[in-house]
Subunit: 397 residues, 2 copies
């Protein structure tokens, strides 16, 4: 890592042309002195590109991806159980390395300008903690290239598969950063029981919660009520995220208002990956009400589906397309979601491109923020903690 780096001719947040100086991995207000410039500085010309803070992929599953493998035909049936069984079969047959596959996706994400990832990692009675351990090692090995948060995720259910609660607890004890959960009613068949179990683990270990909630309409709304109640009682305000929350795009206006109040009171954030085929949270309305929103790739080219490329700018575009955003100010909100929104949900300190922030940023050619989102040009530079991790569309780690 160069001690001193000068990135010339960049436009922070698509603003005016300036230079950015990085010293010891931190963004600095002042330019290097002339003698420093002569001796000790890496100088890069940004050619007028837009400088954004490193993108935040706040919800993905790097333990499941087929990225980098030969194409795997998708032939699973339409039901959830078809997809879960298909996943188990494929992962068994392919005998993949979770570490290598995770790294394939992480490298693609870095190439696309992502510096922070929150990944859910399966915890289940068959593989036990193997995936958690593999991703934990990946997280440590590449700590200077990307920040990874691990959510222990009971993909196959917890109460319905004896032994999983204990494994979830062990996963957090072993270093997982958050406790995950999934559809307390529709999958787990015991909403209070499921939520009590995961909140109990969170309380015991002092970690946050990130729960998958695909449940529709009033069923999903009921789950949000239960989650908010427990968040308040246990003092976990600001540390709970609900991922997907399709129900927020399905309930009537009065219910949405009431749920918004619950989210605000418990300071629960919402993650949406802008699903293609189902209703999803009204992000402009929730954001304007004060609810923290983040986004993520979700699964990328895995047994669940063929889509995805770990490009959070493309995800911003999808948020815009699905939300019928046409105005520049609305597309700017999508950029806010994939940067500061994700950083706030992940509780990152020192995130941003102001002086004193960690030097985690990327350059993308473009005229305006909106244009950068719709054009999604190749990233010309990605810097993590002052280290160049990608350049000219190529990951260097």
């Amino acid at each position: 890592m160069p001690h001193l780096m000068l990135i010339k001719n960049v436009r922070p947040m698509a603003g005016d042309l300036t230079d950015v100086c990085v010293r010891g991995g931190i963004i600095e207000a002042s330019a290097p002195a002339p003698d420093e410039l002569a001796n000790d500085t890496t100088v890069i010309d940004g050619h007028g590109a837009i400088l954004l803070p490193g993108l935040v992929d706040a919800h993905t599953h790097i333990d499941k991806t087929f990225w980098g493998l030969p194409w795997q035909r998708h032939s699973a049936g339409p039901l959830l159980i078809d997809k879960i069984e298909n996943e188990r079969r494929l992962l068994r047959e392919l005998n993949l390395s979770t570490y290598e596959q995770g790294l394939n996706q992480v490298r693609q994400a870095i190439r696309m300008g992502t510096t922070h990832i929150r990944t859910h990692v399966d915890v289940e009675t068959e593989g036990k903690l193997a995936s958690i351990e593999a991703i934990q090692k990946l997280k440590e090995d590449f700590a200077d290239s990307v920040t990874i948060q691990i959510v222990a995720f009971p993909q196959r259910g917890m109460l319905t598969r004896p032994g999983t609660v204990e494994l979830m607890d062990a996963a957090v004890a072993a270093g997982a950063d958050l406790v995950g959960g999934i559809d307390p009613s529709s999958m787990e068949r015991d909403p209070a029981g499921h939520l009590d179990a995961i909140f109990s683990i969170a309380e015991r270990h002092g970690v946050g919660i990130d729960i998958h909630l695909h449940e529709p309409a009033t069923l999903g709304a009921f789950s949000i009520e239960l989650i908010a109640e427990r968040t308040n009682v246990l003092g976990l305000q600001g540390r709970v995220n609900i991922s997907h929350a399709f129900c927020l795009g399905m309930v009537d206006d009065a219910s949405l208002g009431a749920l918004t109040e619950l989210l605000l009171e418990a300071r629960i954030s919402i993650m949406t990956h802008a699903p293609g085929y189902v209703a999803f949270p009204p992000i402009r309305r929730l954001h304007d009400a004060g609810v923290l929103i983040c986004s993520g790739s979700d699964g990328i080219r895995d047994s669940w589906g063929p889509y995805g490329n770990a490009d959070m700018l493309e995800k911003a575009m999808m948020l815009g397309i699905r939300s019928n955003f046409r105005r520049d100010e609305d597309l700017e909100l999508t950029v806010q979601i994939i940067t500061k929104g994700g950083a706030s949900v992940m509780g990152l300190d020192g995130y941003g491109i102001e002086a004193g922030c960690e030097a985690d940023f990327m350059l993308v050619p473009g005229e305006t923020m909106a244009e950068a989102v719709v054009s999604r040009r190749a990233r010309t530079l990605v810097v993590k903690g002052g280290k160049i991790v990608a350049r000219d569309d190529e990951c260097l780690v």
Copy 2:
């Protein structure tokens, strides 16, 4: 244009590796003779790329795009009238050349592998036939690089703006290939009157019809009934396309069945651009029932919205994402829609990659059809009528 062209090492429709020979603009079954190869042949190595017939963008608005201009901020309000007035204002202020702007988009489309475009072109009392004439000239000037069909399109209404019907008739007399229409009830306020007017022009000139139908649910269904009635009575079966037809994604199952029967009887095709924010036709179900489906870019980076890049492979991906297609066979249907589906709707003769077809095709690196759709790699070669019109991601015309 080289008389003889040999494209080596390509995989037609992602199948087995082969060579493709083009003679005089036509795909040929047999390879060139050795002496021809020595003297008169352009030989290109396809490096194992997938060979697809030229992509068909069966619905766009090349007279409106800002493509190639500095970014135009989008700030129009949410109503249809806001957007129409905003468009008029912007087009007036920018004083654009319809020809140059259309060409900007056409070049981008060619770069992305599109060889056939059906574009709607505004006909209205202010500009009269100016846009039609500009695009007509573009169509003729670039006839050997791209096939363009022109739909005379009453964007601002027809019955509600006296003089427009006569201009629509004049547009077709001047060479427009089809008659367009728009929302007979919700915009024109007189469904029978609007449809009688456009069908009358179509009958008088012996051309087909392509009508924008954004009307929702039962209102849109009523319009489809009226369109089908007129199609049958006037013997226009197989020559009428309904664009958008959001209502087909909104009505109940029984109504969808009845509407499907109407579409089949009148041989009316459906165009969907996979809108992001509104229901749209269930393409797998309609296709399996025998309804012809095509797709198109719709507006690209114009006053209506910021999105779009004229990449029909990306459009195929959007069709898949919005339809919750995950299986390879479903993604293959999206490729069928952006190739043969569009070609059938446009009534193209000699379309395809079999021997005897016009040499209109493109190469895209990829493993399978599904992978090509989700990866959308840069096109390495685009050939139109035996002429190389794009190569290595660059338009050559």
